[in-house]
Symmetry: C2
Subunit: 302 residues, 2 copies
């Protein structure tokens, strides 16, 4: 697809007013404070070459907006850095881009298009902006705070196996391909959470990171990890299935710390608590569980 065609198609999608119709060198944002997050996805590393391009677009934007949700911010807009390729891929990508922007109530602020040498893997970058945010830090948990998580964990990990050929239900595949950032929940929680982040690399590794950033230890009850009905039917709910869910990543749920005597105003599950010390302690109905060798994915910069 040519740059001119791509730009013309972009102009039919939700565009932020600050983008000045994508006709200037820079977007101008007038609100503050702003949170900013950027993610790069690489074909063959973060997505599969035969993943549907509509879903790649969805996931690229949704996962970046998940960082904005983790800051309790309203999504303000995105920048897209895009490698032009064949017409079919580009058009399908644009469809998915329109879908995710509309679904998340946000718009395009600008970007850059490039042409890659032939046979180079696609590399896509999205930078997301969030406004009007109290932005609870990752490292704000206090001693005796409770650890909570929204939604269910492990669905996307099972969905990845399904995308790679394991038979399984489409609901789990959809959790992998079309994650929905917890934007509304993030805004509600940011007013009360001491610490908050999205779960992208795995529940255990992300909880350990929150504890480390807060200068505390965290205890998690494996039996409390919330599993969906589809996940239980597909993978079971024994210790192996729970450990798999808690280390699989790609959940894009919100993990947050709150005073132990407060209940969150959104659907969430209490997983454990923070205490003086360092590291992560795992138990299951009161019995200590040895930590698995791998707590989550390690290929990402947070």
């Amino acid at each position: 697809m040519t740059e001119a065609d791509f730009l013309a198609a972009l102009r039919t999608l939700p565009i932020h007013p600050a983008a000045r119709g994508l006709r200037d060198d820079a977007a101008r944002l007038i609100l503050a404070p702003l949170v900013v997050s950027t993610d790069t996805l690489v074909e063959g590393v973060h997505f599969l070459p035969d993943d549907p391009p509509r879903d790649v677009a969805w996931k690229l934007v949704a996962t970046n907006l998940s960082d904005i949700a983790g800051k309790g911010a309203r999504p303000e807009g995105i920048l897209l850095n895009y490698p032009l390729s064949d017409d079919g891929w580009d058009r399908a990508f644009l469809e998915g881009l329109g879908e995710v922007l509309s679904a998340c109530g946000t718009g395009l602020l600008g970007g850059d298009t490039v042409t890659l040498p032939s046979r180079a893997p696609r590399i896509l970058t999205v930078t997301a902006f969030g406004g009007d945010t109290p932005a609870p830090p990752r490292g704000g948990a206090g001693e005796n705070d409770a650890l909570w998580v929204t939604g269910t964990i492990g669905d996307a990990g099972a969905g990845l196996a399904i995308a790679q050929g394991t038979p399984g239900p489409s609901a789990l595949l959809a959790r992998y391909r079309r994650p929905v950032p917890r934007l509304a929940e993030g805004r509600v929680l940011s007013r009360v959470a001491h610490a908050m982040m999205d779960v992208s690399d795995g529940l255990l590794i992300d909880a350990a990171r929150m504890a480390e950033a807060s200068g505390l230890a965290v205890e998690i009850d494996l039996a409390a990890v919330p599993l969906s009905a589809e996940y239980r039917r597909h993978s079971g709910d024994d210790r192996t299935a729970r450990l798999q869910a808690a280390t699989a990543g790609d959940d894009y749920e919100l993990l947050f710390a709150m005073p132990a005597n407060v209940r969150p105003a959104v659907a969430a599950t209490r997983l454990g608590r923070f205490r003086r010390g360092t590291g992560l302690d795992l138990h299951e109905d009161g019995v200590a569980v040895p930590l698995p060798a791998r707590l989550g994915y390690l290929h990402r910069l947070d």
Copy 2:
């Protein structure tokens, strides 16, 4: 280089306070208004595989800050999306990154690192933020406004040929490899310019774009195009040399429109004027000059 090593090295460079030591999921910016610009450079397309990595880092950041200069903004910080590769390349890149951040008085806000499949070309993205800006638009030129440009034109184009093997002076090569964004000039000019942009793709094509965005025609005197002493010695100053300079690109000077009776408060050269109509008219000492087939580089957005 591993992500952990890369992050540790990044933390020794100028870091923006909003980056929270590169230990959180998002940077938080508290000032407004902000201008934002993003650029992606591809190995083999925008830079040569054997370009020194220190210079690649410099150019990546400097060219993006040039868009911020074009908006008359103070550079606030940058995000970096970086593909980790071999230790030597990464370390040299980091050196250049520190140099350009220090030289431009700005810092790192955050970013993302990825690993590429083997033999994939490097793709680097920088997103730059500018604050405290009146942000003159690209399309704000008025009828009878004069067109001006800072500095000299064509040096970087000659420098590219030198980088590719043509013998020539190192001063021209440096203009190609180490462009200096006109940040101070941009801040002064933004208070009086009706329209402003940086010259990245070529003087003629960028002037034509400013005219088109302003709904006007522009006339340029080829004899007025400012050439450096090094450029004249290397390429001459006849019509061919002047047309080459005016279409070569990579200048990163500021092009701006001002009322005809005002002189800018920075070193700049008056090139022509805007008038009712459309298109670009080129003349040389009063004689019409046919437009060259190629007005500049066309591989870039904006």
